[in-house]
């Protein structure tokens, strides 16, 4: 449950130009990564781009430098939370649209190999999308972004032990869905 909010710094009177510049630099550098993260969590590219744009806009109007600590983790948290808020808003507003096919065509040698690989990936992504939101987040952060459990805990605002147990449960469910042992 419950992250539902962008954990942004308190609204300052007017963000310093240097803060705004720092935000712009960070997003210029990490734009693609953040959108991809949101795509994997939301299953929709337009919605993912909206979330990242929204986070960017909000950070531009706040004293970003007051964040301290790890700004990248902070922004990732904002994107993850934004995704959950987006899911909820989508539900409230009509749960429009369908999840998109997230996978681009693959190049894996023979045409038969390509079909098999594409199908395998589709199965995995479908199983991932069927997981509860928190489990999906943990897996995406760990197996796509390659974060450690400690880093994931920081992003999600939960304990490292919870990350570990959540990941274990999620993998077990995923393995069951995919017909193999975790």
């Amino acid at each position: 449950m419950k992250d539902m909010s962008y954990p942004l710094p308190a609204a300052g009177p007017v963000p310093a130009a240097s803060s705004r510049h720092a935000v712009t630099l960070l997003f210029r550098e990490r734009h693609a990564e953040l959108v991809r993260l949101a795509v994997l969590l939301l299953g929709s590219r337009p919605a993912a781009e909206d979330v990242v744009q929204d986070v960017f806009t909000r950070l531009c109007t706040r004293d970003y430098l007051a964040v301290g600590g790890n700004p990248l983790a902070y922004v990732r948290t904002a994107v993850v939370n934004g995704c959950r808020s987006a899911l909820r808003r989508t539900s409230a507003a009509g749960r429009a649209g369908e999840r998109q096919n997230l996978l681009a065509p693959v190049a894996a040698g023979s045409a038969e190999d390509e079909v098999l690989l594409a199908e395998d990936r589709r199965q995995v992504i479908a199983a991932l999308q069927a997981l509860p939101a928190r489990r999906r987040e943990v897996l995406v952060l760990r197996y796509w972004l390659g974060l450690t459990d400690t880093e994931i805990a920081e992003v999600l605002g939960i304990s490292r032990a919870t990350v570990s147990s959540t990941a274990a449960r999620a993998l077990a469910v995923l393995a069951r869905h995919l017909g193999e042992d975790a």
Partner: protein, 426 residues
Amino acid sequence: MTRTEDRLADALGAAAAAVPEETLRPLVAPPPPRPRPVWLAPAAAAASVVVLAGLVTAAVAVAGSGAGKPAGPLPVPAAALAAVPTYYAEADLDQRITVRSTATSKVTATLPIRGPLPAGLGAVAAAGHGLFFAAGVAPHSQTEQLYRFRVTAAGKVTGLTPVPGGRLSARQRVDGLAAAPGGASVALSYSTVWHGNPSGTDRLIVIDTNTGARTVWRGGTRGENGRNAVFGVASMSWTGDGQRLAVLGQRCPGSGPHAYAETNIFCQGRGGQAHRVAEVWLIRPAGGGGLLSRGQLLLRQSDRYPYLAQALISPDGRVLTAMVLTGPVVGQNPGGDGIIPDNMTIRQIAVPSGRPLGVLYRRHLGSTFETGASPDFLGLTGDSTRQHWIVIAELGHDPFNGWLYRGRLVPLINVTGLNDPGFEAW
């Protein structure tokens, strides 16, 4: 890594690679804010001292009254637990519709219907004496359907059957449900999806669950500048005789194409922002459909009740139990962060006089960057007697979910759990 982990990492990498950087929509920076006049700084500082002092006083008062943040398991006498419904049904963000024990929150049954994709919530409502209704999507189905089911003394689901007249069209998405005591009628609010986008405006259907006969109700009033107002249904509830339905509707008077009356304290339109209007109407569905304004206006948001998030009618139709938000609005931009007042009270109000009768629960919602206050974010659910209440708030850094007992909240599920309840019914 295990084979599962290998496959997962590979699939995630492929999915991420399918989003080429060069095809991303460029980020648009907001215009730089205008520097505030120098004289505003000391004024703002002075104002913040006043506000802080007020908050401290309020916090002490809340803590003193025992209505603050739950600090751990709350001892509840067995007699109190016996008085509330034994089970409640829940629809969560992960599309599950489940039945849980009130005492332990453990799942006792899972329904074979789910919320619609993506991440649809489904909806549930209770009609009393173990009778429930749920809207969801059956396996191999694309459209939502209204079902009825019973929960046994052991917490199991029996008799899950479609309700006559309860099938929605492919474009209709259920937003809320309310069942009349005994279950003879069910009110259902829905929005319509056009080309993948929600219309932003809800309608109401009242279904006779025996015959399938329907009446349709609309907010339907025109807003400022002659434009159609966007209308959202925040809550619905029946009187004890099952003849009258109270509807908390929220309109966005100056709405533009992207306005959502139900999700903001401000409405956003072409002309800028406007406060949304919230009204509670009492209608008699048996008299045919039409505009809600055909009914009786019970309560309107006002300075006394500036933000009505939920409002449920008592069995005798004389009292509203309302979730009211007051206090400073956090944030400053419509559509921006934290634009709801952050002091929540569950209070009872005589209608139509509007006279306050008392406060059941109060809580400071804390810093929030959530823009929403629709039923998905703030929920108030009463049992058939309207004596017992479940409160859900999924916003801010302190989300909570529980039932009220003597001004305290008895948690229903572990908030660090993995599900997001959207609707609860008991």
